[in-house]
């Protein structure tokens, strides 16, 4: 009995080992080679439907779909650039509402279908149609921010996109550049379920293999002339744990890993396998003052000194002096960063002359004393709660805790409360989060108004508008925002008003301005690759170094 079992087992083993090489080649985890670039990302794409990008539902699919799909224009690598892509140029109607893009000839989708203006129009209408139920960046954000009405094909190569009102040109072009173009016939033939799992792309790469939970492998599209294709294969590996991803970089199994924990930089450098890059990002990091008079923490607790105190401009100005952003960046994020003067990124078209509030705790205390909030016997002036989320990088818990400590040090006892992302967002949207909250908001390098759009004008309700999470009701700002669209034909006047508005933001701050969160990126020594300040990873532009 025992002998038989042993025999059978050994036989099986011999068979397996003997036959293995003769059969089809074994599946392996993709590793970098001369034809293959491996990129690590923490999240995993859910749907690969080009109308369902980013947002809380898609995670990282936007990064990948930027390779499988092209856009009319593209948010460029260089700071502030928006480059032609499927379209070579565009014209704007006199009233600024109708934008016509002129597309290249001879474009095709992955399945060979010609890509024309009809397809571009279809892509816009498909994602915007509420009946299709799309959410995320295109359907949720672009449609609302541009006031999208409809798209139509004027001819074979000309597509016109209609919006309700004019808008800052750079801002609108940037927003239109976030809509992924896909072919009508291919996507009409697919159900939503099929479209979530299959890709008929229009970009430089096509989907070759998708192993759920593990990786997605893209293959260069032959004859795609609009963008470089540095590597034949682009592999996106899904690695949820940052320490593991860094270990993969160190062992040479991953070429690019964006947003590694700053503290791992030394380990990456010491490995000799990769560079550990630090550079300014575009995501604005700030502490919001919730000024909503109907917020539950004010209504339920009318005697709460802190919640009332921050309603005053002088108090909000005083608190600006309490935060040492340089110390935070140098000691916690291990890089340097520039403190913001307003809600516009320092690298974007921010205010030309304003100086960031300096770190001056003595002055902060002096101003608070003058405002009538002296330290009590316990050294506390008033107390505030600061809801935050557990995020990484510039929004890491350490940064949140350090800011709370700095506020506490000037007598404003601040408690950071880490909430589940969903609860935090739900309270944020309904303007109930606070009294302070530690937040971030995506920013750009190509339009001041893109960054300013967080706080819209009277027309959208100003204080009540959904995105005005602080419920800041500054009349000058709100009026200014309503005036801006009428100035799109006169860039100088437009800029002048922007600058005046930013000054108002500085003087009557609804935020404690921090910085545009610095980003990190590990890049293998074997490749040439230019890091981007924004969220994206342009894998197609990476090339193998000559001496490799």
């Amino acid at each position: 009995m025992k002998l038989k079992l042993t025999l059978a087992l050994s036989l099986m083993l011999i068979l397996m080992l003997g036959l293995a090489p003769m059969m089809s080649s074994a599946q392996t985890v993709p590793v970098p080679d001369d034809d293959t670039l491996v990129i690590a990302i923490n999240g995993e794409p859910g749907s690969m439907d080009p109308a369902q990008v980013g947002g809380s539902t898609g995670g990282s699919n936007f990064r990948i779909m930027m390779h499988t799909f092209a856009t009319l224009y593209e948010l460029g690598q260089a700071s502030g650039a928006i480059d032609p892509y499927l379209a070579h140029s565009f014209t704007v109607s006199d009233d600024g509402t109708e934008w016509t893009f002129h597309m290249h000839e001879g474009l095709t989708c992955d399945d060979g279908e010609p890509l024309t203006a009809e397809d571009a129009a279809y892509s816009f209408n498909r994602m915007a149609d509420p009946a299709n139920g799309f959410t995320g960046n295109s359907a949720g954000f672009v449609v609302a921010s541009t006031g999208f009405v409809e798209a139509r094909a004027d001819s074979e190569l000309d597509v016109t996109i209609v919006a309700r009102k004019p808008q800052n040109r750079a801002m609108r072009l940037g927003l239109y550049s976030e809509v992924l173009v896909h072919c009508k016939d291919s996507y009409e033939a697919m159900s939503f379920e099929e479209a979530a799992r299959n890709v008929v792309g229009s970009g430089p790469y096509s989907l070759a293999e998708w192993v759920p939970g593990e990786y997605m492998s893209l293959k260069a599209v032959e004859g795609f002339g609009l963008r470089p294709q540095g590597f034949e294969n682009l592999v996106w590996r899904f690695i949820p744990e940052p320490s593991t991803a860094v270990a993969e970089v160190i062992t040479g199994n991953v070429d690019i890993y964006k947003e590694f924990p700053a503290s791992q930089a030394e380990a990456i450098r010491n490995s000799g396998m990769a560079e550990a890059r630090f550079f300014p990002g575009t995501t604005r990091t700030y502490i919001g003052f919730n000024l909503n008079p109907d917020a539950p923490f004010r209504v339920e607790n009318p005697d709460d000194v802190g919640a009332q105190a921050i309603m005053r401009t002088d108090v909000r100005v005083a608190l600006q002096y309490a935060i040492d952003t340089d110390a935070i960046c140098e000691n916690l994020l291990l890089t340097t960063c520039e403190r913001a003067t307003s809600l516009v990124n320092p690298s974007n078209a921010d205010h030309p002359t304003l100086e960031p509030y300096p770190y001056d705790p003595a002055k902060a205390e002096e101003l608070l004393d003058a405002a009538g909030y002296p330290r009590g016997d316990d050294g506390v002036r008033f107390s505030l709660e600061m809801p935050a989320r557990r995020l990484t990088g510039a929004m890491a818990p350490e940064v949140v805790l350090a800011t709370a400590q700095m506020l506490t040090d000037i007598g404003v006892q601040t408690e950071a409360i880490f909430q589940e992302s969903g609860d935090w967002v739900a309270a944020l949207i309904t303007h109930d989060l606070g009294p302070l909250y530690f937040g971030r908001t995506g920013g750009s390098e190509w339009s001041a108004q893109y960054d300013m759009a967080d706080i819209p004008g009277h027309e959208a309700g100003c204080g009540e508008a959904e995105t005005n999470y602080t419920n800041w009701n500054n009349d000058f700002w709100c009026t200014g925002w309503d005036t801006l669209p009428s100035l799109t034909g006169d860039p100088e006047a437009e800029r002048e008003l922007e600058i005046a508005m930013l000054e108002e933001f500085y003087n009557d701050p609804p935020w404690i301005m921090l910085f545009a969160g610095p980003r990190t990126e590990a890049v293998s020594n074997r490749i040439n690759y230019q890091s981007r300040a924004d969220y994206f990873i342009t894998g197609y532009s990476a090339t193998l170094k000559d001496d490799m």
Binding site: M23, A26, E44, T57, P130, E214, A426
Partner: protein, 325 residues
């Protein structure tokens, strides 16, 4: 026996119902899931519209019975994030989780057995002390930590093992592609090794201590004393009498281990980028993907109940004194 199994299966239905109800209530108590499926810039009307489209505007009991009704028809609904049937999404990952759990189970049994028996037969010696100290230490390390240490030592420093990743074995096997499964096997084992160790060290330690006590207990029994008195060799005593009788309590606990191991996989899957259900369901909870969470919980609890059933059946099989009714 048959009635017993039928009763247990009926019980399974009750359990799955309870589990879904609990999950359903908790995920809805955690706030309106709609907020995860609208943009942060959505207006109140847009949110209401999204809520209606997703069906979250209906009364909770309607939503729950709807889910149950559809589940009974085999329709789990589409995952809100993956936008394909939730059942498919979970089943895609199930093989990887099973690989890890079964691998961990086998390892924890195969390694724990000789350790436990050896320690019991050498009771009070240096070997016993060392093994049991090792077992104690193995029981005092959180799984994620052990996993990271393995990566650091065998993956990064020594470069003997791949840091993370997965080669499929069970999936092609289940899909009938046996030759592919066999071709993948060496690679699959290579990638499985470290996660398997991380998931099972706690169990190995626990089991070897358990096996040692079980064997010691049996050695103290009259029939073993008699066997020794009869002049049987120590080896025969051990094999014939001691180990065989010690098996009964051991097997019960081992079978329960399977369920216990499933607990550890969420953490270990995260550390080793293992494409299993654990990580999937963790993400689904944080994204409030209601259909996906419910489906995953139903399937996982079904697995739990099955493992427990097998444990009970084996118990009855090994110990004829126990009648299952």
């Amino acid at each position: 026996m048959h009635t017993y199994i039928i009763r247990r299966l009926l019980l399974t239905v009750v359990v799955v119902l309870g589990v879904t109800l609990l999950t359903f209530l908790s995920i809805h108590l955690a706030g309106d899931p709609t907020f995860f499926y609208v943009s942060e810039r959505a207006s109140a009307e847009e949110r209401a519209e999204a809520r209606r489209r997703l069906g979250f505007d209906r009364p909770l009991h309607v939503q729950y019975f709807d889910f149950l009704f559809n589940l009974a028809r085999g329709d789990t609904g589409n995952s809100l994030t993956h936008r394909v049937p939730a059942f498919d999404v979970v089943m895609e990952r199930m093989p990887a989780t099973l690989e890890l759990t079964i691998g961990g189970f086998l390892l924890s049994t195969i390694v724990a057995f000789p350790i436990g028996v050896l320690a019991a037969t050498r009771r009070g010696t240096m070997a016993d002390g060392t093994l049991m100290l090792g077992a104690m230490l193995g029981q005092s390390m959180p799984g994620f930590w052990l996993g990271l240490m393995l990566i650091l030592f065998f993956g990064v420093t020594l470069r003997w093992m791949p840091v993370s990743g997965h080669v499929a074995f069970l999936k092609p096997l289940f899909e009938g592609r046996i030759d592919e499964a066999l071709t993948n096997l060496p690679g699959a084992i290579r990638y499985l090794l470290m996660p398997m160790v991380a998931v099972s060290v706690y169990s190995i330690s626990r089991n070897s201590r358990l096996i040692r006590s079980a064997v010691l207990e049996v050695l103290r029994q009259d029939y073993v004393v008699t066997a020794r008195a009869k002049g049987l060799t120590e080896r025969t005593v051990m094999m014939r009498h001691a180990i065989r009788n010690a098996l009964i309590p051991i097997v019960t606990v081992l079978a329960l281990q399977f369920a216990f191991l499933l607990n550890g996989v969420i953490v270990v899957e995260t550390v080793f980028s293992w494409p299993g259900v654990g990580r999937l369901v963790f993400d689904a909870v944080s994204q409030r993907d209601v259909p996906l969470v419910l489906t995953a919980v139903v399937l996982l609890s079904f697995l739990f109940v099955s493992a427990n059933l097998i444990a009970d059946l084996m118990y009855g099989f090994l110990d004829p004194r126990i009648r299952l009714e």
